[in-house]
């Protein structure tokens, strides 16, 4: 066989591949009737099961609808308390902080979505089926719901002689619900219109980008705030009450910020997408990851702390000290990495370490005062000096060490200054932030922080160094052997002891620490599962082309391991999000607790619980369903790279 034979073999193979990949799309779409017959009524047993199932679903639906629309429901409790459900009593004068925090996350999410993903499209035909499905569902709901009770002129329910409430006739009910009918018919009509235009053989594949659909959907939701003044009432901080005041609905007070959020999301998405063709894509991706990593700190800062800096002190002490450590330390390290340094380097480093340790001892016995910042800096400088021998030689390496040192010094001094300064955010007890705001805040921070920690633990547990293996394994096993509640309680008692003065967020800081440490252990196990699925051949191939072990981990092992463990990782994210409801136990007012105990304690809505809890459940479901859908898309997208 000559070269031409080989080429034709290749071509045959490719054609085979194309057919294979194309085939899933080619499921011949049967006409409705045939589809029904094939899938649901293929024989009479199947048909009976189908009918029974449909009947059961209908009964359940009717139950839910009757519950929601019952004359006994007090939806005002929820409408009035929307603000409380979102942030509880976060001071209104400081509310801008919440929006800034949200804006930061929303913008970052948009940016990442733009940079990272090719989101693909959804066919117009698919959208038309959604629309028709929603319309049909709405129609079924309208019919399935019991006719309403009749309210008499005295405002009370009219009752029959036996005492059961009297209901209007079916026809009257249908007429009463005409606006629902209009909505249902509209959806059906638009859906059917799109269907008939886009189900032909030529236009079947017409697609619109998923991102456009999401953008338009969110845009419509925001627009509705400007049109319908729902929410009815808002929290009025002046009177510290949740009760009505006309013209101050939730929609009214949040429509502008939400519009800004929408613009941020879409705007940053476009910005991110414009980077996709950029030469600096790698750099930009790296920076967006870094932003995510530091975002917990940012959120914490924006929402909770606003240090009242004393600029006299900053200029006279903090700044000079930072500069001195950065520059003098840098110069020292530069000297320590000279080629001919030899033993002198090691001696200097050892002396420095001795001095740094002595400082702590001295502080412990109170021999001489030295700022804690300085003690930390000396210790870090000693460690850097010990590392210096690894950077001896080329100019680039030496520069790396010195620049790294200056960066670390800047960060440490900045943080130390900020943490040691009392905050100006005036908090009214520990329940300053609550509701969905607190739940999302905690969930986001815990997920973001426990992710890198979990990956490190997993790498430690599979490391070839016994000490790392032992430490990670015992950490993971200890944490996994302890219930979350006990971890939270332990930290809410312990962490306040270590916080510097002026930091008033004991409870929350405790929760974030404890929950992050807890979640990281579970995450580590999920990632370890992924790590174990990487074959020995991958390690060997990476070694054979000369990658260092850090490069091997970062480029070859982790990307594949994380891809494999996406389903477990998403499960972990979802359960982290849901289990934030345990925060209630250590005294924080999370989303569920607001519905479960804050609203029912208000004098206007004494004991009204079910409405709030139903809403909370629906919102939890909405978030988790979105996450899970997103992860399915992610899995499909990265599935291309699988074997």
């Amino acid at each position: 066989m000559s070269d031409s034979g080989q080429v034709s073999a290749d071509r045959e193979f490719q054609e085979g591949m194309e057919e294979e990949t194309a085939s899933p799309h080619e499921v011949p779409s049967l006409p409705m009737g045939q589809w029904l017959r094939k899938n649901l009524f293929s024989n009479w047993a199947n048909g009976i099961l189908t009918l029974l199932g449909a009947l059961a679903a209908l009964v359940a639906l009717r139950g839910v609808l009757n519950f929601v629309f019952s004359e006994n429901r007090q939806w005002d409790a929820v409408r009035t308390n929307l603000r409380a459900l979102m942030t509880l009593s976060y001071p209104e004068s400081q509310y801008i902080r919440v929006w800034v925090a949200l804006g930061f996350i929303v913008g970052l999410a948009g940016l990442s979505a733009g940079i990272w993903a090719n989101w693909g499209g959804v066919s117009v035909k698919r959208i038309s089926t959604w629309l028709m499905g929603t319309g049909a569902f709405l129609a079924v709901c309208v019919i399935a719901r019991e006719p309403s009770v009749i309210i008499g002129t005295d405002g009370k329910v009219v009752r029959t002689v036996e005492g059961s409430p009297q209901r209007e006739s079916f026809m009257d009910a249908m007429v009463d619900r005409s606006s629902w009918w209009i909505a249902a018919v509209l959806l059906l009509a638009v859906g059917a219109g799109l269907w008939s235009r886009f189900s032909g053989p030529v236009r079947r594949r017409v697609e619109v980008p998923v991102t456009s659909v999401v953008c338009v959907g969110l845009g419509l939701a925001v627009l509705s705030l400007w049109i319908a003044p729902y929410g009815h009432y808002a929290f009025i901080s002046a009177t510290k009450s949740y009760v009505a005041e006309s013209g101050r609905t939730v929609a009214f007070s949040t429509k502008l910020p939400w519009t800004v959020m929408w613009i941020l999301l879409c705007g940053f998405f476009l910005v991110g997408r414009s980077f996709q063709r950029s030469r600096y894509l790698g750099l930009i991706k790296g920076s967006s990851n870094l932003l995510w990593l530091i975002s917990p700190l940012t959120l914490f800062w924006v929402v909770l702390r606003d240090p009242a800096l004393d600029y006299g002190h900053v200029i006279s002490t903090d700044l000079p000290m930072g500069l001195a450590f950065g520059l003098l330390g840098g110069a020292l390290l530069w000297g320590l990495t000279r080629t001919g340094i030899g033993e002198a380097g090691r001696i200097t480093a050892t002396l420095l370490l001795g001095f740094a340790v002595f400082n702590w001892v001295a502080a412990f016995f109170g021999w001489y005062p030295m700022l804690q910042k300085a003690r930390i800096s000396f210790l870090l400088l000693a460690l850097a000096a010990l590392l210096a021998p690894n950077f001896i030689g080329e100019l680039a390496k030496r520069r790396q060490l010195v620049l790294g040192w200056i960066g670390v010094t800047a960060l440490v001094h900045y943080l130390a200054t900020m943490i040691n300064t009392p905050s100006t955010v005036e908090l009214q007890s520990t329940e300053f932030l609550g509701g969905l705001g607190l739940t999302l805040f905690v969930a986001l921070i815990v997920v973001l922080l426990s992710f890198p920690l979990g990956v490190l633990l997993a790498l430690g547990r599979t490391s070839k160094f016994p000490i790392f293996r032992m430490l990670s394994t015992s950490y993971i096993e200890v944490i996994r052997g302890v219930p979350l509640i006990s971890v939270l309680i332990f930290f809410s008692v312990m962490v306040p002891l270590f916080l510097p003065d002026g930091m008033e967020l004991a409870e929350l800081a405790a929760v974030l620490t404890g929950y992050t440490l807890f979640s990281a252990a579970y995450l580590a196990e999920n990632v370890r599962g992924g790590l174990q699925s990487i074959t020995k051949g991958q390690y060997e191939a990476a070694d054979a082309i000369g990658l260092t072990s850090a490069q091997r981990t970062g480029f070859i092992v982790l990307p594949q391991a994380l891809t494999v463990s996406i389903p477990q990782l998403v499960g972990q994210v979802i359960s982290t999000f849901k289990e934030t409801s345990l925060l209630a136990i250590i005294g924080l007012f999370d989303f569920l607790r607001v519905a479960n105990s804050v609203i029912p304690a208000q004098s206007e809505f004494m004991g009204v619980k079910r409405e709030g809890i139903l809403l909370v459940a629906m919102i939890y479901f909405f978030f988790n369903f979105t996450i899970s859908k997103y992860s399915q898309r992610l899995e499909r997208r990265v599935g291309l790279g699988e074997r």
């Binding site: 080989q6 073999a9 290749d10 991958q538 060997e540 191939a541 054979a544 990265v638 790279g641």
Partner: protein
Amino acid sequence: MSIDDATTAANDRLADRDDMIVCVGVDKFYGDFQALKGVTATIKEGEVAVVCGPSGSGKSTWIRCINRLEVHQAGDIVVDGIELTNDLRNIEKIRSEVGMVFQQFNLFPHLTVLDNITLAPIWVRKKPRAEAEAMARALLDRVGIPEQAEKFPGQLSGGQQQRVAIARSLAMEPRVMLFDEPTSALDPEMIKEVLDVMKELARSGITMMVVTHEMGFAREVADRIMFMEGGEIVEVGTPEHFFTNPTEDRTKLFLSQIL
């Protein structure tokens, strides 16, 4: 030309070359089991050495010791003047000079063909991306699959994957290429395309050490054939010598089974 003449001729051709791989008394143990028993051999610069022998004879073990995928316990291995010790810097240096092609290809499934090839040049050799990509495309052209650059390994046939693996190794511009049964996992119709690439490589003058059962390939391009059994090198010779007049009984037995 007699067989002895041929052997001498081959040796003469290589005689004035520098040593590329020198193994002296290499021992390798897996627990109590000794997989290599004092392996001693020298491979010259530009030589194509084929290693063959029955299953379990230690061929893979030996070739993997040469770029330190396995650690030998006794004896010396020197590659291009660098001795393999526990010094990480030496190992790094050797690995960037020695390419290896595996039986199971071991491509990185989450990276495109192009990224598979450019990864090491960019991160180990610190080449600019554009330059690395240009070289990768040239290499893909050389192994005959220029049109597959943007695909993922999972979308390629076995033969194509192995050619990508060869290109990936070549991208580091190695002075030595090691092949461990590069065609054993391939369907018969794809073996040829890989062997063709390897023959072209052999002609280009790179030092090659090939573990294979493809005796046709050995006969055509090998400078020397080494026969291993039980962790030892039993016989070494030119292909003419090896196929027509082997001295050892074990070699004869092996050849009678495989040919």
